[in-house]
Symmetry: C2
Subunit: 331 residues, 2 copies
């Protein structure tokens, strides 16, 4: 009889997330109740929003309780026929940093593991891809000829966002950490330029890469990339705030940029969370699958092997040491 393996929230982070925040535990397999399906997770998605769940503060969803399994989404396979699902079917919707979960049938959706690799449903076709889609099209309304700028450009959301902006006809400029990522963003993803936020001259390089200023900015990190794009914003520019992963671990929070120009330039700054746009998931999955199938959407994952290494992979992602969408392969 297999055992479940789980990663628990062992301590709330003070500042940066340390290894002491997590604990591994073996547990018996969950018993599916009536209407539930037992799922063996195959790929676990690691995403920046999880950092917020580790804090005991009011947010758009409740925090993870101390001692509870860390929150997260997986793709996996049904273990035994139940509630209309068949053993072996691939599904999206397994919950938590663990190998198995029992999920109400209504919380699962079948995925087509032939049309795209299963892990793609956690990334380019899943939550991060939909986030990019909503941000670029609904929140920012990027238009042809505009200059679009995105931070964490090689990350799960950024890489899709920039490619979408390019398809719309905008100039796409990325910000990423390190020369290797920047090269990838330009050469493999087709951005017009990419600037290294580890370079002390980021502000100057970004200004050179955006000679006509910035009309639409997609903010995934806060911190240095936000401060670099701030003075380049044009009149009537929009900034979509999707994540502030570069600032959420700081205690106390660093101040933001001066808001004086918000009036002068009539800026619109708007935070959004993809789950407020539930209809867009199916819309993007269909559109994105078509782009993938035609080879019109490049996509990079950063895969770590083994659940026990999930905390390490998560901490690396928060520090920007991932390269592409962070996924844990669970065997």
């Amino acid at each position: 009889m297999p055992e479940n393996l789980q990663v628990l929230l062992a301590a709330r982070p003070k500042g940066a997330v340390g290894p002491e925040c997590f604990a591994l535990r073996e547990a018996p397999l969950p018993e599916p109740a009536h209407g539930e399906v037992l799922v063996r997770h195959r790929f676990l998605s690691l995403d920046p929003y999880m950092r917020g769940r580790m804090d005991d503060v009011r947010s758009y969803s409740p925090p993870v309780a101390l001692g509870a399994v860390m929150e997260g989404q997986s793709v996996g396979q049904v273990v035994a026929d139940a509630a209309g699902f068949r053993a072996g079917e691939w599904v999206l919707g397994g919950r938590g940093w663990q190998l198995y979960s029992a999920v109400p049938a209504a919380g699962l959706s079948r995925i087509d593991a032939e049309a795209a690799p299963p892990s793609a449903y956690l990334g380019v076709l899943g939550m991060p891809g939909t986030t990019a889609w909503v941000g670029v099209t609904k929140i920012l309304g990027v238009k042809p000829g505009e200059t679009f700028c995105v931070s964490a450009a090689s990350g799960a959301v950024g890489q899709v966002a920039g490619q979408l902006a390019k398809r719309i006809g905008a100039r796409a400029v990325g910000i990423a950490g390190g020369a290797g990522k920047c090269r990838h963003v330009v050469e493999a993803l087709g951005f017009d330029a990419c600037c290294d936020h580890r370079d002390a001259a980021l502000a100057q390089h970004l200004a050179e890469a955006c000679p006509d200023g910035v009309d639409a900015a997609f903010e995934n990190t806060g911190a240095a990339p936000l401060h670099a794009v701030w003075p380049l914003l044009n009149e009537f520019a929009r900034v979509a705030f999707c994540g502030m992963v570069g600032e959420t671990s700081a205690d106390p929070r660093p101040p933001g940029p001066s808001l004086v120009q918000v009036v002068r330039k009539r800026l619109r700054l708007e935070g959004f969370i993809v789950y407020d746009h539930p209809r867009e998931f199916a819309a993007w999955r269909k559109l994105g699958a078509g782009l993938l199938a035609r080879g019109e959407l490049a996509w990079r994952e950063d895969v770590t092997q083994g659940l026990e290494r999930a905390p390490e992979a998560f901490r690396a992602m928060l520090a920007g040491r991932n390269f592409g969408k962070t996924v844990v392969a669970l065997g």
Copy 2:
């Protein structure tokens, strides 16, 4: 033959605006060209936006040149029949801190000096009133049952904004400088509460005055009032940035609040300038005149006598020592 009297921009401010920034000059009367009308100004409007025009920086309108007449709008009377206007008619549209200007007929609009005092067309029925109208209805979309908060609540824009929010059915909470203004805001303008930004406990008082948080904030000042409202913003709250008069004189600019919560709370922060909404002027003037006529809109002016005291009145307004819409009576 009367002479013109003018206030010139003599020096650009370094930090706070000092008396050395202005110079008085006597000048010959302007000669109206064909199609222009000579206007004797009667009331000059002083407004926070003028502070921005004194700096040599790109903004939504060009800066005032050194040695040029300060920018401003007046109501006044036509001196001699011209271009379809009759001597003695009251008009809005005289330009500059001066007693006379020659204005193209298309830049003038007749005002009904019987329906409301002429100076009202500079304030409650003019640009500041329209600004309040656009901010509350178009930018913020204030709804019944929401909590609305406005800084500079006894000022030209704030007093109208709060009364409009009340009419919509929102709870209106003001922030103003000093106990006298706060009392006026509650007792004469009908706000539900008003907090004194000079009080060190502003943040605590504002939290007590907004037990359900803040859904829509109308930002006229920046600085302490902005930082006090910031942690009270509810999920999906909107902030209209109309002015940052409390921060524009600071050099270097003070940092803004942390933007981390913009994502978590899905905030929308939007700067606006009333001149981007030109159709709203006539709409508001008609609606506002009806409210005034029915006694449903309270209105307070701070009137200084004599053009030579305009610099002093302007500096007092920037320091928050005005009480109501700042106007200079020109005799």
